[in-house]
């Protein structure tokens, strides 16, 4: 989990860079990704080749964003084991390898679109965009606090695990499952208690600093003419890629 949190921070570093895509309003980027996902989802799944136009579109987006293309392509591979599993299960049942391949290709392209969105949109802007699109304020605030304290609580859990291993020092036999189980549940209860206490402390400190129930945005959001142009351009490109799909396969 710590590795995964670290990787997510790397994504956040990329999102702080500057490019045409980075400068676009978060709402426009979210809408274009949703449109892309809907187009990909509705593409007939008779062959993986149907998703080549969509993949080209994403690679163009990756190049425009100035982000490390190969790293982002490999990051989207996280999804591959799951989609390969579903594809394999489908292949076993239907005996159609092309359909199974299309399932994997569709999942991969969809995951790559989300990776690109996260690579060009800092989290505070993304949350601001979600709020602007009508997501309930409570949910957005929970998301913001979750991101803010994710690393803190995960590191705390890791420190507790390390401390328990040091105290144990190999004395507790690995076969003594009952003791190991009791130790793990006790540690989890302590972590629960400390998280709860930390959350209350955080809340009190925020109230003392003037928190009135809403996080302030670092950058005011405004949907400019360029954002409208971006949205129209990506919309047309996505529809073009979608209609090219049957021709390509």
């Amino acid at each position: 989990m710590r590795d995964r949190v670290g990787k997510s921070l790397r994504l956040e570093e990329w999102a702080r860079r500057d490019s045409f895509l980075h400068r676009r309003d978060a709402r426009g980027k979210i809408l274009s990704v949703l449109l892309f996902l809907i187009a990909v989802s509705s593409t007939p799944s008779s062959s993986p080749a149907a998703f080549v136009p969509a993949a080209f579109l994403l690679i163009f987006g990756l190049i425009v964003s100035g982000l490390p293309v190969l790293e982002l392509l490999s990051r989207a591979c996280v999804i591959v084991p799951f989609s390969v599993f579903f594809g394999f299960v489908s292949w076993l049942e239907n005996g159609n390898a092309l359909f199974a391949g299309a399932l994997v290709a569709r999942s991969y392209v969809s995951a790559l679109a989300v990776v690109l969105l996260m690579g060009v949109t800092p989290l505070p802007e993304l949350f601001g965009g979600l709020r602007g699109m009508g997501v309930p304020a409570v949910l957005v605030m929970v998301l913001q606090s979750l991101v803010r304290y994710l690393r803190v609580i995960v590191d705390h859990g890791a420190r507790m695990r390390r401390a328990a291993l040091c105290r144990d020092a190999g004395v507790l036999p690995r076969r003594n499952r009952r003791s190991l189980w009791r130790r793990a549940s006790g540690a989890l209860a302590v972590l629960f208690g400390r998280s709860y206490a930390r959350a209350e402390g955080v809340h009190r400190a925020m109230v003392a600093r003037g928190f009135r129930g809403d996080f302030l945005s670092s950058r005011p959001t405004s949907f400019t003419a360029q954002d409208w142009l971006y949205l129209a351009g990506t919309g047309l490109a996505i529809l073009g890629a979608r209609y090219l799909a049957p021709v390509w396969q």
Binding site: S8, N94, V142, Y149, G213
Partner: protein, 309 residues
């Protein structure tokens, strides 16, 4: 080795348009109701508390519990959150976790968010909360907590399997049976972990456990829990044999006597349009989503009006 059930996070590209569209349309008002419920029970401005508890779930999933044969499992947290934070707050926390997982870690898709939220944050949380709510009297409470943990996993898994079947992901009865076995083991582990962790939490501070008001009788609790379990088993059985109803209808001769009493607006998930198949299916899915959303909003408003009257 670690036993994980991340396969329950359905990625994008697996579910068909009508399935994800319908589930998104149902999940949105569901989360809206959970937000309303949580606001009632939570002090003003306490949203950061939910966020930190969400981070706790992430950390808790790193704590391994030895199972045997060199394997270990971990807490999933739906039932634990429902019992300690209340079902409304637990739904919000798990929804936030699912959104973050899909955006930052690519665990589950964005379009499939409705399905994942439905399975884990709504069905999972409420299936975890109900047995505890119904059996929290005296000596039956531990059984209620265990049943909550078990049923939260089984109900989520059953819903995910049904959604995959409806989307045309071919799953033979053997695969559904095998997956159900894995989910049963995971559910038993979740029940045991939830029981032991809650006992330890209660030793630290009994106030952290939510005690439901107006508890029903034990027999009603046992009945409701058994009904939940039977429903899940029935759903899994039907998804293993999806054509069971049609086969049964053919065997008893009902198929030959069937007659159309109402023409569905979108037969076979297709809108009656001259455009291509994908447009027809997409439009049917989106129209279905809009209709269900409209119904949910109208029913919700009527219920709120009735309550406030």
């Amino acid at each position: 080795m670690e036993v994980r059930i991340d396969a329950m996070h359905i990625p994008d590209g697996i579910l068909s348009v009508p399935v994800w569209a319908t589930l998104n349309a149902v999940a949105v008002p569901g989360i809206g109701l959970a937000v309303r419920r949580a606001k009632k029970h939570l002090a003003e401005g306490h949203a950061p508390l939910l966020g930190v508890m969400g981070a706790f779930v992430f950390a808790a999933q790193r704590m391994n519990f030895p199972v045997g044969f060199g394997t270990s499992g971990h807490l999933l947290g739906g039932a634990l959150l429902a019992i300690t934070m209340g079902p409304g707050s637990a739904t919000i926390i798990l929804t936030a976790i699912l959104i973050l997982q899909s955006l930052l870690f690519q665990d589950g898709g964005l379009l499939a968010l409705g399905a994942n939220t439905m399975n884990m944050a709504l069905i999972g949380v409420w299936a975890g909360w109900l047995p505890y709510r119904m059996l929290s009297k005296g000596s039956f409470r531990t059984a209620g907590v265990f049943a909550g943990g078990l049923l939260s996993v089984l109900a989520s898994a059953a819903a995910a399997i049904v959604e995959l079947r409806l989307s045309g992901v071919g799953m033979s009865p053997a695969i559904v049976g095998g997956s159900s076995g894995v989910f049963l083991v995971t559910g038993i582990m979740e029940g045991l972990i939830t029981v032991t962790v809650l006992q330890a939490v209660e030793r630290l501070n009994p106030g952290w456990l939510r005690v439901p008001n107006g508890m029903p009788s034990r027999s009603a609790g046992v009945l409701v829990t058994a009904a939940l379990l039977m429903t899940i088993i029935g759903v899994l059985y039907i998804s293993a044999l999806p054509d069971g109803f049609e086969a049964l209808a053919a065997r008893v001769g009902a198929a030959s006597r069937e007659q159309i009493v109402w023409n569905a607006p979108f037969p076979d998930y297709e809108a009656a349009l001259p455009a291509g198949e994908w447009s027809r299916k997409s439009l049917a899915g989106l129209a279905g989503m809009a209709i269900i959303y409209g119904i949910c909003v109208t029913v919700g408003r009527l219920l709120i009006r009735q309550r406030s009257a």
